[in-house]
């Protein structure tokens, strides 16, 4: 039987998808505009059905370190927050990356800097794809543009995290978190048994049997020669992810003379701008990066041979535009259009910006 179509907020979809994908534990702390994730989980009470643990920690720092602990035992664990809370988690995220632990982090972005505003923003792009925490590490970053993708990317995020032993992040914003749309939730997948975890995660700290050495979960290595090797291994893994996991969507790009580049909620608004501009006879397309890291650089470089210019539309002062420019490498003009501090542009404003900046 096909699954029922439901209407829900993006944040609610995250919570339901987590329960359904066999998640073992959620650790969070409330913050607008993502509080419905924790609220929905506590309302549904999955500990009574699947056995999934849900815990409101005393702080974001505690929550991310609980994730570190859970992930170290091979469990499927996650946390979610919004921008200021995700800043607090950065030390823990760097440790997760350093100890090569699979985990899922969700950031439903709001305007900053500092405590900022509770309205939508995409100003945590740099934090997400360029580091955020310290050290040479990468997060697999997925940018949902619909409530359906909020649901789908939970399972996908966990799959990628375990495949590469690397933390994954869903980078959404207040629009996608708060809006309601149709969604078909993923089918129920049972939580893995202890035996299955031992088999799938031979590195996990699950109690030492006699037939192997201790599994030690740590990011610390005081011998620089060994630490360099460890870093080289991480870099090799990142190159593999870059080769295999780039995801993007092309919208009306085939005959495009101009290209908009946008992710998440901005891509939705740009889609409307594309429809309106095409009605005026302007041949514009939209390239939507779905993975922000690994970034769809190759396809953008190819489009630079086809289009006259590109406009990167993002709810920040110009962040992803740097990656678009690197990808295009000077072949065509790449400009940026953004609104700041929680203001969201309308489709009209995007068309005006397009005409003023790249046509």
């Amino acid at each position: 039987m096909s699954e029922e179509i439901k209407l829900m907020k993006g944040n609610e979809a995250i919570a339901h998808a987590a329960i359904r994908c066999g998640c073992d534990g959620y650790f969070g702390y409330p913050i607008t505009p993502q509080s419905e994730v924790l609220e929905t989980l506590t309302e549904v009470e999955p500990w009574k059905t699947t056995g999934m643990n849900v815990l409101q920690a005393e702080s974001e720092v505690a929550a991310i370190n609980m994730v570190y602990g859970g992930a170290g035992t091979g469990k499927k664990v996650m946390t979610s927050s919004s921008s200021p809370g995700v800043s607090l988690k950065q030390e823990g995220i760097s440790y997760l990356a350093g100890a090569e632990l699979p985990a899922l982090i969700v950031n439903v972005m709001r305007g900053g800097p500092g405590l900022g505003t509770i309205q939508p923003s995409q100003a945590d792009y740099f934090q997400t794809v360029k580091g955020g925490g310290h050290g040479d590490y990468k997060l697999i970053a997925l940018a949902p543009a619909s409530v359906q993708e909020m649901a789908d990317f939970v399972g996908l995020g966990f799959d990628l995290a375990f495949k590469y032993r690397n933390p994954a992040i869903i980078l959404a914003d207040g629009v996608i978190g708060q809006m309601m749309e149709k969604v078909v939730l993923p089918p129920f997948k049972p939580r893995r048994t202890d035996e299955e975890i031992v088999k799938e995660c031979p590195w996990a700290a699950v109690g030492k049997p006699k037939n192997r050495k201790c599994n030690i979960i740590t990011s610390l290595e005081l011998d620089p020669a060994v630490m360099e090797k460890k870093n080289l291994h991480l870099q090799e893994k990142y190159r593999e992810i870059e080769a295999n996991e780039v995801r993007y969507e092309e919208i009306q790009c085939k005959d495009a003379e101009y290209l908009l580049v946008a992710f998440g909620s901005s891509a939705r608004i740009c889609q409307k701008a594309v429809e309106m501009a095409r009605a005026e006879g302007i041949k514009v397309g939209l390239l939507r990066p779905i993975t922000l890291w690994p970034f769809p650089s190759k396809v953008l470089n190819q489009f630079a041979n086809q289009v006259k210019s590109m406009l990167c539309v993002e709810l920040n002062a110009g962040q992803m535009v740097e990656d678009v420019r690197l990808a295009v490498n000077g072949k065509v003009k790449v400009e940026h259009f953004g609104r700041l501090g929680g203001i969201v542009y309308t489709p009209d404003e995007i068309i005006e910006a397009m005409k003023a900046k790249i046509m």
Binding site: L7, P33, I118, M179, M180, S265, C270, K272
Partner: protein, 178 residues
């Protein structure tokens, strides 16, 4: 068919829940729907608004600069949204919260005394359903039976006894809009 609607008024007037019921009704009718609230502290006492889109096609942007229909429940919202109605579009307002009447000549304007009527009906909480009934009379985008199904989906089971009252309010709204 695509209908792009803004509903705007005071927090506590049932703006967001009216939008939610409309969105659920669209879902019951097999349409694509989106519901995008202005969220945050404005829900509690300040102005509240929600954009609802019902369409036969995939919806692109949940955020818009102009609307087919505006439902306006206070003066601040009228000042903000009267100019955003598309030429030829529809504006529905309750004069209870409005001191300066809408002035545009290129849109269709309807008045609905929902606040007064809800008090007369001794059911002030069904205010937003009177408005929704008025909207559906003017713009029959969803069938009444699907609105009732939508109500069943949005209301918790313990409140299902309130559905007949809401149905009466919807029908009253259809009668009194003018």
């Amino acid at each position: 068919m695509t209908e792009e609607i803004i509903i705007a008024g005071f927090g506590g007037q049932g703006v967001l829940s009216m939008g939610k019921i409309l969105a659920y009704s669209g879902l019951m009718q097999g349409k694509e729907v989106s519901w995008m609230p202005a969220y945050g502290p404005e829900q509690r006492g300040g102005t509240a608004n929600v954009t609802v889109i019902l369409s036969d096609e995939r919806i692109s942007s949940p955020i818009l600069n102009s609307y087919d229909t505006a439902i306006i429940l206070n003066q601040q919202s009228l000042d903000k949204f009267e100019k955003t109605v598309k030429p030829g579009g529809t504006l529905i307002y309750d004069p209870y919260g409005v001191t300066k009447e809408p002035t545009r000549k290129d849109i269709k304007i309807y008045k609905i005394n929902a606040m007064d009527t809800s008090i007369e009906m001794n059911a002030p909480k069904s205010f937003n359903m009177i408005i929704l009934g008025g909207l559906l009379k003017i713009r029959p985008i969803v069938d009444l039976e699907n609105v009732i199904l939508g109500l069943k989906k949005t209301l918790p089971e313990r409140h299902h006894k309130l559905i007949p009252m809401n149905e009466a309010a919807l029908k009253k709204g259809m009668e009194i809009i003018g």
